[in-house]
């Protein structure tokens, strides 16, 4: 299934003429022909939701950006792909960056923004030159710069490198880092869309979302909504990794079961059974093998307390220990917490202590209560979306792997 990734391996990802030969920039031309308002309606119609993990309806997001009035307005492409297990944006940049840039131009045109930034994570520094070169080629061809395609609309894009901070994928933390400060989220409101980068209205939008906008404009909304399910249209670019035979990036229509998706990666290594899977990134939910018949849609996953998130699927086999895995997730959050708010900064440390007790089978009833209380407190009281979703893997693991959380004394102590 190829919609967003239709151009993958059809050209080398660098040659702009080859991209144009594949009907490149026809989505932009169509958007210009239709005008900003009709284009926004088209994106709304497609049902597209933010693909970085926040799942905010994209059409509405662009519309809200359009309404903001200011001297300067920014579109930031969020290429700070930091969710462990996620590498689909890497492929979208490497194999079809012009589709991404075209999406940025369409969005900027609709939102009436003249300045764009691709915020790419430092870990992808090996692609930074590729990004800059591609921006320049678009400029040479007149797709960026002044008076794009005789519309009177002007738009420029520059590259900004992150510096190894997971939290900077959050809108405000990203803006802070771009302003030469440590990347810590700000309190809301005002929101990024109102007062973001340099306190100007800023539209932060994920690589895949932008790429999807181009594809939707190029192939037509109905061709997108024909895929997937009626309540969850379209396709999703998924990163599958872990104990599978063929890890990689796969585009799938919504509505496939998790089992079917994992089968694309040709099953578990060494003919073992699946132990558990984590969906959507480090702050994504963890499901047991018995839940793999669940359909991959926003609603179905939600019914299992899981979300689509970044679209990562990490597969562990029957020999992998869920508590070791959770400990690793927790250490990641401890390392990446910006330290600004107490629930995330301290909560993760307390979770680490409690997980140790579960692991050594010394946990008491009070520890279980504390574990749940800390998770609730983190979800309720953290400042940013990162802190609020960090409890998800710990909660879902507790729900689906009760045995691992047995109290001290009730199991044999090893």
């Amino acid at each position: 299934m190829k919609f967003i990734t239709a151009n993958f391996d059809q050209y080398d990802g660098k040659d702009i003429q080859a991209y144009i030969g594949l009907d490149g920039f026809s989505g932009l031309k169509k958007a210009i022909e239709m005008g900003p308002l009709a284009t926004i309606e088209e994106v709304k119609e497609s049902g597209l939701q933010g693909r970085g993990g926040a799942e905010y309806p994209t059409g509405r997001k662009i519309e809200q950006a359009r309404i903001e009035k200011a001297e300067r307005k920014f579109v930031i492409c969020n290429a700070d792909e930091g969710e462990p297990g996620t590498f689909k944006d890497r492929e979208l940049i490497k194999k079809d960056i012009y589709q991404l840039i075209e999406g940025m131009i369409i969005v900027a045109y609709c939102a009436n923004a003249n300045e764009g930034v691709i915020y790419c994570r430092e870990e992808y520094d090996w692609m930074h030159e590729h990004i800059c070169t591609s921006i320049l080629k678009c400029k040479e061809m007149g797709y960026l710069g002044d008076n794009i395609l005789d519309t009177g609309f002007s738009f420029e894009i520059s590259l900004f490198s992150g510096a190894g901070s997971y939290v900077c994928g959050e809108g405000f933390a990203m803006c802070e880092s771009m302003e030469g400060k440590s990347g810590r989220p700000r309190s809301k409101p005002p929101y990024v869309k109102q007062e973001g980068y340099l306190n100007y209205p800023t539209l932060v939008i994920n690589v895949e979302t932008l790429s999807a906008i181009t594809a939707i404009m190029k192939f037509g909304t109905s061709n997108f909504t024909d895929l997937g399910t009626p309540d969850c249209p379209g396709t999703k670019v998924i990163s599958i990794s872990g104990k599978v035979n063929k890890p990689g990036v796969y585009e799938v229509p919504f509505g496939k079961t998790l089992e079917e998706i994992i089968a694309l990666a040709e099953g578990v290594k060494g003919d073992k059974r699946i132990g558990f899977v984590q969906i959507g990134g480090a702050s994504g939910g963890i499901l047991p093998e018995s839940a793999l018949k669940t359909q991959f849609t926003y609603r179905e996953l939600k019914s299992k307390q899981v979300s689509v998130g970044s679209g990562a699927i990490v597969v562990a086999d029957e020999d992998d220990n869920i508590l070791d895995y959770l400990e690793n997730v927790g250490q990641f959050f401890i390392h990446e917490s910006c330290g600004k708010c107490v629930p995330c900064r301290e909560g993760n440390r307390q979770l680490e202590i409690l997980l140790g007790k579960f692991k050594h089978k010394t946990a008491t009833i009070d520890d279980v209560k504390m574990y749940k209380d800390i998770l609730d407190m983190m979800s309720e009281a953290s400042l940013c979306g990162s802190g609020r979703t960090e409890p998800v893997p710990f909660k879902t693991a507790f729900t689906y792997f009760e045995d691992a959380f047995a109290l001290g004394g009730s199991h044999e102590i090893l």
């Binding site: 462990p84 890497r90 430092e122 030469g180 440590s182 872990g242 990641f332």
Partner: protein, 157 residues
């Protein structure tokens, strides 16, 4: 410290504007042979951007990609996050520790290699993976690790 005209060039490319501090520091660190932002350089940058040195240190110490301590010529970043943990991070770490006789956070006596643990580098499809400079190496085996190290050692002599 690297020549001041190199730093001046970097500052100029970013309009001597403190708003670009993070990009300036990444560039400055990349031209410093020991891969770090020294106190001397931090002071120089702060003075030229007309900001307190504490602001420079706030940024240098916050971001994982920046260092205020000297590092080896090659910084070996070993991914220790979920997917690599499942796929053999512990072994990869041991191979590097055995070969270099250092622990994460340390630098070899000859100043060639530093080793550090890093969260996900987005190479989960070739996990277990590491990153050295702008190169990503995946599907690591003991032999591959030895190969990488001898190649990097050879490139110096």
């Amino acid at each position: 410290m690297v020549e001041t005209r190199v730093i001046d060039g970097i500052l100029g490319a970013y309009q001597n504007d403190a708003v670009n501090l993070l990009q300036i520091l990444l560039k400055v660190q990349s031209v410093e042979p020991k891969n770090y932002v020294s106190e001397e350089v931090a002071m120089y940058v702060a003075n030229h951007l007309d900001i307190p040195i504490s602001r420079v240190y706030e940024v240098v110490t916050y971001f994982a990609a920046l260092s205020h301590k000297p590092q080896g010529k090659h910084v070996i970043q070993i991914c220790n996050t979920t997917v690599c943990q499942l796929n053999g991070f512990n072994e990869v770490l041991k191979w590097f520790k055995d070969a270099l006789k250092i622990n994460p956070g340390e630098t070899t006596a000859d100043g060639l290699f530093s080793m550090k643990l890093t969260p996900c580098i987005g190479a989960c499809d070739i996990s277990p993976a590491i990153k050295i400079g702008t190169n990503v190496y995946g599907n690591l085996t003991k032999e591959k690790v030895e190969e990488i190290l001898s190649e990097l050692r050879g490139a110096i002599s």
